[in-house]
Structures are given as structure tokens and as C-alpha cells.
Amino acid sequence: MKKYIGAFIIAAFLVSVIFQKFLVPTDVFSYLPSFSLDNWQKPYNSLLADPLFQFEPWRIFTSNAIRHFQIPIWNPLNGGGVPFLASFQNAFFFPLTFVYFIVGPASLLFTAIVKVSVFSAFTFLFLRSLKIGKLGSILGSIVASSNYMILWIQWPQTNVYMFFPLLLLLSEKKLSKKIYFLSISLIYFLALLGGHPETLFNIFIFHILYILFKKRNLIFSTLSGFTFGLLLGSFQLFPFIEYLLNSYAFFQRGVHHQSVLPVLSLPFFVFPQLLGAPQYSIYKSLSQSTNYAEYAAGSVGLIAVIMLIVYVLKYRRNKIVWPSLILISLAFVFSYLLGYLNSLVKIPIISSNNNQRFIIFAGFFSSIPLAFTFEKLLNKKINLGKLRFLLIPALIFFGAALFIKSSSKEGVYLIYLSKYLLFVLITTLLFFLVLFSKIRFKKTLLILLLIVQVIIPNIFYNKLTNGSEYYPKNNFIKNLIANKDQRILQIGNLNLPPDLNMAYGLESAENYDAMDVRNYKIAFDRAFSIKNHLGLVDEVDYGSLKQFGIGMVIADYDINSKKINIQKGSGSRILLLKPQIIEIHGVGGQLIGVRIITATFNRLNSCQIDIEVIDKTSTKPIGRNSFDCKDVRDNMFYTIPFSGVTLTKDSFYQIVIRPINLSKDNSIALLGGSKPYLDVLLKEKNPNYVQLFNEKSVYVFNVKDAQKIVSNIQYKNIHQTPTEFLFLTDSKKDGFIDLKYTYYPGWAAQIDGSKVEIQGKNPFMRIDVPKGAHYLKIYYVPKTFILGLVISFVAFVLVLSFSIRMVLFSSKFVLLHSKYRKNSLAILSKKEFPQTISYMSFAVTAGIIVGISLIGLLPSNINVAYVTSINWLTLNNHSLILDYIKIGVLFLSISISIILTWLRLTLKKQ
């Protein structure tokens, strides 16, 4: 089996690299107006935004840092600067991420395959360790891997969750306590590096519960192993804790966060695609906060649920697997009820945890009763009687449903629902009919049927994209890149989601790492308090932009205009089947645009909309424009320009939005309250913003005189890196330098080599500079990272020493060493000495030749971090790091060659 898995993983690697297919959902770009100016299409799976807007940009950022031999401890590109490694989710130190650093985005498919394979293999072995037969274990592992591991494969959560079955497997193996402790420590360490502490916490809870119910004697070893695992990962855990304590999200979550699954989501445990799925043409989320990925994450399908019922009815007293029933129940209780506890008792860990995700353990532990019951039923002779006759009408109805078409939305959904339920019914019936039959290939058929029911519906949830579609650089992006030094703020629509900027090396005033530096975020929300239905800033003032050093604004409307809201509300969808009339009164000025919110999802959108401004007194139209439905985006603002229309103050006007050539399914809707949402844009004098770009509803503006560094003294910024600023000042009076960069513990300042206090810390840094000529250095040294590194190192040394000792003091090794010693003396005897010397001379020569050849394969030069010195190395563009690598290669090549030759001579000798 190991060989097959190995071969499979190697094949996956080769396929990923050769075909250059990336597991990055780039089609989600078309959701953004800025990336779909000419060609809007519905995203394939709109739930996959995070991998595109967050995880991949993070990986691009870290890869760039690695290429410059830097550890990306600080992200200067978002939110005025935020800790990067500390945010954990980038999984920088996770071993699978290293593959990305070598082969780039082509590795993502490979790592996804590895993650699912590892999870499935360990689930299989875990089930086997419960003395469940092979076939039952395979079926169990299929069910366990069919939900969360597929739906969340692009998230760091699965980096962590993939180790869960391994933890359970180890507790079932009869290992010595020392080995158990070491293994648990290492697995928790790896899981910690996976990059999702919350999932780590969740798997720890269920691991401990499992131990409590089944292996109480391991409780201490498990707890100490977990603790030691955390110590091994201190270098990342300590900065994370520091960030958590300084974060906005941690303190806000408890207030607004309930995190439970709605009771209505219960049926989805059995029928996950009841409301369709985001990758299908039909999909509707259960509620605003509970989408498919959340409620289907623990689903197991009808076959597994039937097995679970049989298990409860017949085998619940079985000592091996009964705890799984309790664990399934607890998983349901936690995911459906624990969040409500927060309303009664405020427990931070509950209020800040995504408790709904405990449902995945219900899914996982359901694999045990499934596998167990299946094994019990496999050899039973049960006559399903007339049940088999159900299959024929089911198949007929299913076939008929395939041919029925409907023009109405409801009809389309009902046809889908019938097909789906029939599909589930047929696969379930077939499964049980095969189970109790004696046909050939019974086992294969059973596996296939289960796969068809639980895996196939999700298999295309994730989509591969071509290299050419990978982070495109359209005119909009090129414009931003041309002004790379400016800090950007998007207002109105989602055009450049925070952190997507990292993929292009741009800087955004916002951050999206689920943490946020608290002081910055509070100040930001205070300065930009007007937010829209997307939670984005909707209106800005010049002073606030300057205060935050924002030099560029991306907007869906002309921010030089005066925006007046006429109709509030965006909670309901108003289908545009008849003209919508909105009254305007008391607004004076030259009208340059009308701003509405459009909804287009699940519609054809090939219609046209007419918009008219009517003077109510004369009832004459004074302005008119129209737009194509295909130009608008779902849930986004759209601005219709007007010219030559003057609105007189205190007069009455009407805005009429009129559909042309549309039907019920070929139309758009407008968001609003009782009337559609509406802003009017009036021409403003003395604009503060210079327009750099405009295409359809996407504008880019430059903010005049916005600076990221402000001072009242003469200064020169001589050098700047993400973690260091160097200034020279020369002034006749005392003054200051304001850095519009977020203060965070670890930032420090020196003037002429002596430490000085950073005066301003909320949220930006201010350093008081005395008069005279000075050299000012502001730098970031993350003390928690350094302390964590020391602790991790000590813990790692202890684990390593302990592990090697166990090997060395084993009887097997003692025997081997005695043979080695005896043979070593023998090959140095007078008789064998000349031959040994010639072998060893050959080893040295071979080591040198191999070393030099390997060095020849190295690049002649590599990029190194920017330095300011002028010396032989910088003048000759010579990489010293490459020299170290070359010498290291030569040293290793010679020493390994000698030692391996010696071992070969001694250990192979009889």
C-alpha cells in the first residue's frame, strides 16, 4: 500500500508540474468589476474567494521574500503594516508550503492531493486499528474524506485537520508511552505549522474527548505531548499570541460572533446538495452566514446515515466503537448549541471560536459506525423484499426528470430537487441491494456506489485554471502598478480586495488576515465610518485620506463629486420587471451621475435598462441614459453618468428606472428597501483628487499631497525596507517625523545609535527629533519570535536527543554497532589496508568531483536582499550567500562521500 501511495503522490507531482494547472480559482476575479470590465461571467464557485484573494497572494509575497533570503515577518503592504508570520494562516513553515517555494503555483494541485491522500490513508489505518475489516475501513475513509477535506482543501484548515486520524491512530496503537509522547508532540507541532490554530484547538478537543472515552491511561501523555508540540512551534505560536492580544478581531468576535449552525441545516448532514451547490447552476445559501461550505462540511450522505441508524439500533453496545456515538452527538451539540452558550456565559474561547465547524467531527466519527455496521452486514443474508422494486420507478422518474425543462426559476429548482433526491435514493438502494447480493465485483461496486453518492457531487467543487489566467494584469492593474508607491483605499465596490494587492506588490490601506492590529483598525473605522452593504468604505474625506497616507483611491463613482443619498436600504431585492420611480426633492446642483446597487445572480442578464430624470413640475424628461445588464455586477454599485442636467434646489424630480426587453429570468434586480437604493452625484468645485483611470464603473484617483512620511523638519529618507527606515535629519529646531505606518510591539527607534522612545503609537509612529544633524533608524525586531525561536530550538534538541537515544540504546542498534566496529578494524588490517585506502581516496576524489559538478549546476548569481554598502561584492554584483552555498555543497559532498563509503565498506562486509 505504501508503494502505491508513494507512486500516486509522485505521479500527482509530475502531473501538476508538467501540465501547469493551478488550483487557484481565478474565475472568481470576474466577480470584481475591476477584473471583468469587458467580459463578465458568473464565477464558477463564488465561495472560493479566500484562496484567490488571500492565500495565494500570501504565498506570492512569501516566495518573493524567500527569493531575497528574507523571512517575511512583517507585511508592509496592508493596513499600514501588519505582522505577517504571526498571523499563522499563511502556513509559511508548513512542510507542504516548501514545495510551493520550489515549483510555484503548480504545486497546489499536488499538495491538495497529498493532503487528501494522507487523511484518507490514516483514516483507513485508524479504522483498521479498531479491528474493522479492509472493505469497511475503505468505505469509512471515503465518507470521512468526502466533505471537509474537499470543500476546504484550499484553506489552511485542512493542513491541520489532515492529522486528526493520525492522532487517533496513535492512541489505538500499542506504543510505549515515550514513543507515543514523542509522536503526539511532533504531530501537534506539524499541525500547528499547518496554519490554523482554531482548527488545532478543535481537533485537540475531540482528540482529548476520544482519549477520555477510550484510552484514559493516555490522557497525561496526550496532554503533555500536545503541550510539547506547542513548545516546538513556539517560534510561531508566541508571535501569534502577541498578535492575538493586539488584534481587533479577537476582541470583536466575542461581541458579534455567535457561530452556530442553524437548525435548518440539519437535513444537509444527509442531503448536502438540497439547495444545490455553488459549482452547480443552482445554488442558494441557507442564510447569509451559513453557506454550502459550512453546512456541508460534515455531511455524510444517506448510506452512512442508514448505517448509523442500524448501528444505534443493533450494535450500540459494542465496546470498540460506542464512543463514536457520543462523539457524534457532542459534535452536533457543539456546532448547533455551543454558540448560544456565549449569550449566557461569556467564555472567550467559545465566543471567538467558529463553533459551527465542530460538525466536521460528526462527519468523521460517522465513518466508524458506517464501517463497523457494514462489516457486520456484509455477510448477512437479508432479503430486502419488495424494496428492490422501488428501484425501477426511481430510475424511470430520474430518466424523465432529465428531459423535463422549465422556464420558471421555481420550476428549475423543483426539477433539480427531484433529480437530486432520486439520485440519492437510487445510489442508496443500489448500495444495499449490492450489499446483500452475491454478484461479482461486489466489493468494487460498493466502493463505487459510495463514491458516486458522497464524492462525485463534490469532486468539481474546486476548479483548475490555466497558467495564462493566473493573476492577470489588465489596464486597471497596470495603472495601479505604475503608481506602486501609493497606499490604496477602495471605496464603494469590491475592486481590489485587501491582500489581493500583495499578489501585485501594491499597498492597501486595509488588511484581511482575520486579525488586524487593533489600534489601526479602530482609528481606520473612526476615520472612514461610512460603510456600505458590502462592509466597505463608501465615502471618504480628504483629511482622513491624508491622515492615513492614502495616495490612491479606487472607487465605483467620481469621488470629486458630491454624493447625496436619496434612498437608503439594501436589504431586499427588487426585481426590475416594471419601472421603478424614485422622488428627489431639495437637491440642487449639476447632476453627473446616478448610483444604484444591482443584483444579477442566477439570471441571464442580456437585457437593457433605461434611466430617466423627469422634472416633476413640467413632467418633461430632462436627462436620459441607458445601460446593458451585462455591464452590472451582482451586489455591486453601478453609476450611470449624466451630463447637462441641472437640478434646482427645492424643486421636485423623479428618477425612473425602466427595463427594456426583459423577462422574469432575463433581468436584473436592484437592492433597496421599499424603493431601490439611490445616490445622486453632483458636480463639486475644487477637486482634491486627480483621476488616473476610468472604465465603466471603475475609477482610480490620486489624492493630492498625501504622504506616508510627514515631518516638520528637513529630512532625507535614505533607505527603507519592510522592517527598517533610515533617515538623516538636519534642522535648527526640534521637530518630529510622523510615519504613517502602524506601531506594533517590536518597533523601535535609534537616533545616532542610541535608543529613543517612539512617541506616537496610536496607530502610527512618531519620533521626536532634536535639532542638529542626526541619523535616525526605525526598525522592527519581533522579540516574541526570537524568544519563541530559542524555546523551539531547545525543545527540538530535546526531542531529537531523546529520539536518537531510543534508537541507539535499542538492542538492534547495539548489535549493528558491534558488527560495524569489528569490520572497521578488519578493513584497516595490513591485508586490507591498501584496498581500503584506494576506496577512500576514490571517495575523496568522487566527493570533490561531485561537489564541483553540483556547484556548476547552481546559478551563476542570485538575487540578494538590497544592501547599502559599496564594496567589492556590491560593485561586482557578487552574491556572498551563493559562495556560502557553494562551499557548503563542497563540504557536504566530500564528507558524505567519505562517510558513506566507509559505512558501505564496514556494514556490507560479512
Binding site: I718, H719, L726, L728, D730, D752, G753, S754, K755, G772, A773, H774, Y775, K777, V797, L800, S801, I804, R805, L808, Y820, S824, L825, L828, S829, K830, F833, P834, I837, V844, I848, I855, G856, L858, V864, A865, T868, S869, I870, N871, W872, L873, T874, L875, H878, S879, L880, I881, D883, Y884, K886, I887, G888, L890, F891, I894, S895, I898, I899, W902
Partner: protein
Amino acid sequence: MGIVGDINLIDEGQYSAWVTNMLHGETMYKDFYLQYGPLMVYPYYFFAKVFGISFFSFRLWDVMQIGLSITIFVAILKFLKVKRIFLVFSVVTLLLVPGLNLRYLLGLTILFLCINFCIRQSKIYLIASGILLGAIFYASFEFASISLVLLLLLGILFMIFSAEFKEIIKSMIFFLISFFFSFLIFYLIFFKIGFVNLYFLSTLNFIKDLSGQNLPNGQGLLPVLGASMNISEYLRALVSRVSLFYISLVMLTISSAILIIRVSVTKKTKDLFVLFASLYALLINFSIIGRSGHYFSVFPFCLFVFLYLINSSYEYLKKINVKFFYIMLFLFGIYLVRHILIFRTDLFHSISLLTNVSQIEKVSPIRITKNQETDIKTIQDFVSRRVKKNEKIYILNNDPGLYFLVDRLNATRYDLPLLAETIGMRYEIVNQLKENHPIFIIEDKNAWAVDGVSDRQRMPEVFNYVIQNYKFKTNVGSYIIYSLKPISNKS
């Protein structure tokens, strides 16, 4: 070195400049920049105090250092039971080939004391090694760190292989206590003097700022590796000076591999010690990659490892294959002769200087060449006549020895401008020149362009400032003197 030979205004000069600053009551790291620990400078300061303010006192300490180093070297070899003939051979060799430095040898001494503890089980050795390591942190951070890494590795090896795990942990704790005790004592002393925190801050900045590409001096590796060269170019490279860097590397790698094998078979503590000495030398070799001109630094360690291996296998090889023994001796002989040819070609010239007796302030009784004598006398004469005792000067080049010779303070923190490598440091010099406005700035016409990079190339900001604010005054020997422009002309 010793009584004859020109003053090296860079290497010897830097210590003399720092001593000048100290004699004028300045605080190290605060008022003047140095890349070494305070314990590297204090012996020179005390020798100047005791034997007089002259280069002769500094050379006295240098000679004592070498004597002490050779004694420790021989003592360790003797402990390893190396034959007398090899001991004599090592003394002669070390006198002929420079490279043995007390700073380098201290790390080996710490390892030696630790191994002694392992063999003799007396805690006094452990205490001594801990104390020594604590002290070395105030002499050379670099070598203290290398020693600490190796001690840590040694501790881990004992933790893995020793049957008495708890005893090892106890010994490690004991060692750490003595280390921290000594570290703390020095900390308190230097705290009282007022520079200890600045020392650590400056050292950390040095590690951060001057590592990697920001190296003050040094060139890349000899282009043997990875370059497309024909056979004759390869051969030429092989006999060049810097090839000794590679030869030492290969020699130490092979020795380390042999010693690993030996330790794995014999489990002898002495073998383990020499293995660590070899690893220590390898780490030094790695640390000089960017300064491959310092290839001679590892020579003493190569000699040490070679003598131990050849001595311990002599009896065995005599019985088995004596030819192999002589081949090894011959190969090492070539390596040695190559070093001697590089360093002792001017031996007779130096001896001839003995007859050059003349009185030079702050130099006598050292005998130097007539050229240097003239240079020193003219610049001393100019400065003593034109610059008041309390006025500061600035020397644009890497001739820190001049501050000592003319007994004037530097207007900037950098006596060795070479060390002001980062842009911030270069502007710091400019700022200090603006603040202190020395009336004269001196440029050495014959200044050594380190690594072929002239000081004008290296510090454009400083030279720009000087060009804008100073004007040519006069030539004094091989020096150009610039004087401050009138205020209206300054930028």
C-alpha cells in the same frame, strides 16, 4: 612584527587609535566605533599605560599574545600525547607562519577544558571553561558564538550517547552557571564604566548590518567553483594564494570525516576533542568566506589536527604501510612551504632594518623603513604646528594609526572609515563632520584601496561633503591636507 618592520597603520593602527581615544577620556562604542569586544582593546591600553604610549608597547603585547598562544597550543598537543619532535616542529612552524591569534585559540581552549572535564571528571575544568566563555563574549562575539555552538553540539552528543543522561544535564547546568557568573561580572564592570549596553547594541547592529553583502572588506571566492575555466587557468588558480583557502577546506573536511569514523569506532574522548577542533576550524573557514584573504587563519588548526592524526597513527602505519605516512608528511610539507613562501620572503629585508636607528615619536625603538619614517615625521610636524591639542581632525582613509601618531582626536566616531559600511553610517560621518567641523581633513595619496575599491568610491557621501565644504590646502609628504572653506562658500 616585533622590533623591526613598518607600522601597519590599519591593523596595528586601529588599536592605537582606540587607545588614543581612551587616553583622551572617550568612551568606547559611544564616542568611537569598534567592531571588537572591549577585552580586545584593554590589553593595549594597559600596555600603553605601563610601558609608555608608543607602538612599541603595542608590539610588546602582540609578541606576548603570540607567545601565550604558542604555549597553549603546545600544551594542548602535549595533553594529547603528541611526540616531542612534533611539538618542536609545531613551535617552529607557528613562528614562521603567522595566523595563530589568541582570539582564535580561546575557543579551542574552552573545548579543551570541557574535554578535560569529561576525562578527569573534575568540575574545576567545567568552571574554567564557563568563565572563559563568559569572558570571550567581551573579546570576540564571533568566536564566542562559534564556541557556544560547538559546546552546545558537544552537550547534545553527550545527551544522546551518554548512559548517564541526568549527569549530563547537571553538568550542562553547572557550566551555564559559571558562564553566566563570569558574563555577569564583566557586564557589571563595563556597566560601571558605562558602555556595556552600547557594546551589545553595537555588536547586534554589526551582526545585522554588516553581515552578508554589507561586508566591510573582502572579495568573493576564487572563481574556481562554477566558472568555466580551462586547464591552465585551473592550474594557475591552484597555485595562487587564495587556493590555500580551498586546500584548508578539503584538508579539514577529510580530517573531520576521518575523526568521525575514528570516534564511532574507538569512542575515545581525545578523538572527539580533535574532531571538535577540526569543526571549529571549519567554522572559522566558513566565517572567512567573504574575507578569503584571511586563509592563513586556519593554518594553525590544520597543523594541529594534522599533527594529532599523524602522531596517533604513526605506530600503526609503521606496521601497516609506512609509505602512506611519508606521503602524508610530504603533502603537508608542500602546504606548509607554500605558506612560508608567502609570508617570509621579506625576512632578510626586515633584519636589515635593525641598522636603521632613529628617534621617531611614539614609534621608537621600533625600526621602520626610511620612507615611513619620513611620512610619519612630516605629518607629525604639520599637525603639531597647525592643530591645537584640543582640536579634532579627520583622516579620509583607513589610516587610524595616524590619530595615534599625531595625538589628535577624530572628528567622527569612525577611526577606520572602512567600517562605516552602511549608508546610515556613512551619513553619520557626514553629520559628525558638520557638527565638529574639523579644520583639517587629511587624505593619504598612497592609501590602500581595499579589495580594489578606493575610499572615494566607497564613501561618496563623505567625499561629496568634503569637496563642497573643504578646499585643498597643501601637500605634506604623501598626504593631502584640506582646510575648511569660509562659511559663505559652504553648502
